[in-house]
């Protein structure tokens, strides 16, 4: 067994996985990774199950040191500079830390959460099938709280597997898609239009419970108190002050404010990775489209192993390169450390 020791880590970092399902009826929320696609990508790179427990690293930097042997890890999610003793590590790749080496992650350069998966997974005692941290309920293993410097994981010694890169679809920059409801009838047409047509920004006071949205005040038709009913990941509730809150993974299981809309499953992770202060819009879609997208999203995660490429065979992703150049930023085809270059074996 090796150890992976946290040399430093910022706030809002914790062990997360696919979440804790089945006990919402007792008030126990699901928790789990804010960005499930990146969770699954990081795990796939090191041969883990897609929703195995990983380190969810918040917007600030972190450093992880291998002790008592080598440790194989992978990173995916919010892009950031990463290096081992000054030699860069690309996002969406696996890498092996030799005994004594440290992987250093910089601040997120966009988005918030980066996922560090460890080959063989994180060892702990699951509660309701999950190691995910829910600090309020004292749940999460091996640490039932946000991570801090000095914490460590006992992990499998690194295999000799070749390092891999994963070719993920280019993230959409389009609006965050929502389904109206369940309480859209608590708002008149003008206020529904205001919600859908306005530009929104995520407040810096947001957290894993909810993302507070800054924009115009949305007015209720009959006041802001409804009898509490159930919530889901992505429920957008509108409290009395008219500033919507998108409920995220550590949400209360029930809530007493009208919910104007619900972010579609395929876009919850994209909302989670929208940086505070970045302007974005919502777009209403039909149930048929939302469910079609949910099925495609599940299929994308299931088929992630098909997107693995050898890390050392580099080919050009002409599409990405030309997009970037058209956008006015000359991107060198050989700058593989900073640009996501797709690789064909």
């Amino acid at each position: 067994m090796s150890r992976l020791v946290i040399a430093s880590i910022g706030p809002a970092s914790s062990v997360q996985d696919g979440g804790r399902h089945g006990a919402q009826r007792y008030g126990l929320t699901v928790s789990g990774a804010m960005d499930r696609l990146s969770l699954a990508a990081a795990n796939t790179l090191v041969g883990n199950e897609p929703f195995a427990a990983v380190v969810e690293v918040g917007p600030f930097g972190a450093a992880f040191k291998a002790r008592d042997g080598a440790v194989r890890v992978a990173i995916s999610g919010a892009p950031r500079n990463a290096d081992i003793a000054g030699s860069p590590v690309a996002m969406d790749t696996s890498v092996t830390l030799k005994d004594g080496e440290t992987l250093t992650l910089g601040f997120a350069r966009g988005g918030a959460f980066t996922y560090l998966a460890i080959e063989g997974g994180i060892k702990g005692e699951p509660v309701f099938g999950s190691l995910a941290v829910n600090a309020r309920a004292g749940l999460g293993s091996p640490y039932p709280r946000p991570l801090q410097a000095g914490d460590e994981f006992t992990v499998d010694a690194a295999s000799c597997a070749p390092e891999l890169r994963i070719e993920l679809p280019k993230p959409s920059s389009g609006p965050i898609r929502v389904l109206l409801g369940p309480q859209d009838d608590e708002f008149d047409d003008a206020n529904k239009a205001l919600f859908l047509d306005s530009e929104w920004k995520i407040s810096a006071t947001s957290d894993r419970m909810g993302y507070r949205l800054e924009g115009p005040a949305i007015k209720h038709l009959h006041g802001h108190n409804i009898v509490s009913d159930g919530t889901v990941n992505g429920s957008i509730q509108v409290p009395g002050n008219g500033a919507p809150i998108a409920l995220m993974m550590d949400r209360g299981t029930s809530g007493g404010y009208p919910k104007i809309a619900t972010v579609i499953t395929a876009d919850v992770g994209r909302l989670a990775q929208t940086s505070a202060g970045t302007a974005f819009r919502f777009e209403a879609v039909s149930m048929a489209e939302a469910q079609d997208e949910a099925r495609k999203f599940a299929q994308l995660i299931r088929n992630l192993p098909d997107r693995l490429r050898s890390a050392d065979t580099v080919a050009l992703n002409i599409e990405a390169l030309s997009d970037a150049n058209v956008a006015g930023h000359a991107v060198s085809a050989v700058d593989a450390g900073t640009w996501q270059v797709a690789v064909e074996p």
């Binding site: 309920a137 109206l180 009913d229 159930g230 889901v232 809530g255 619900t262 099925r295």
Partner: protein
Amino acid sequence: MSATLPPPRLLPSGDSAVTVEFSRTIDDDANQRVLALDKVLAASPIDGITESVPTYRSLLVHYDPGKIGFDALGEKLLALASQPLPPATRARRWRIPVAYGGEHGIDLEDVAKTLNTTPEDIVARHVAGDYKVAMIGFTPGWSYLSGLDKSLQMSRRQNPRLLTPAGTISIGGIQAGIQCLAAPSGWHLLGRTPVRTYQLHRNPTFLTEPGDRVTFFAIDHKTFEEQDRAAEAGEIVAEQVVA
């Protein structure tokens, strides 16, 4: 179908959950139907449903759209929701000890003043109540009770408290509650119970279920301390009344 209730409505809650709503208000008939539908789904599961969450007036049904679509599931749920209520089965009943007033119930005196009576009278009315766990939500084990005496119904605090103690027994609006973990609350705090409705390494982890009946009885603060230690060590402390 109850004469007072409109037909149930399906409210889409995103692409992977649907709310079956029986009423827009707190209504005992509606809650009974919520719990009945929840029971039917537990007894004869519909493929694709992953979890159901009963609340006062609606059942939130989580499902996998890869297994069943909204239209097909909605049709099945509405058919089940419209069935006549099964005959009432005998519910479990819990007797919950409460240390009222003082440091454990800092709002007891104010509640008495507001209602022009004595703290002893407030306790007597609270203890006399026959409550039902209508739903569990917000934080683990937070049991929302229906059945609060009309004379104890008063609006919530203007300024919700950011933190209220674990085990708080409180009232708010027409509801009463048993709170398990320390949490923010805008309700009036009458007392504290040593009973943990949620305790991680105890069997059962969750004590109460929606539909359970609850009554309270007063204990002194010394008994509270003793039972609190016992509860911390994993004892249930609450008395289960065998019907």
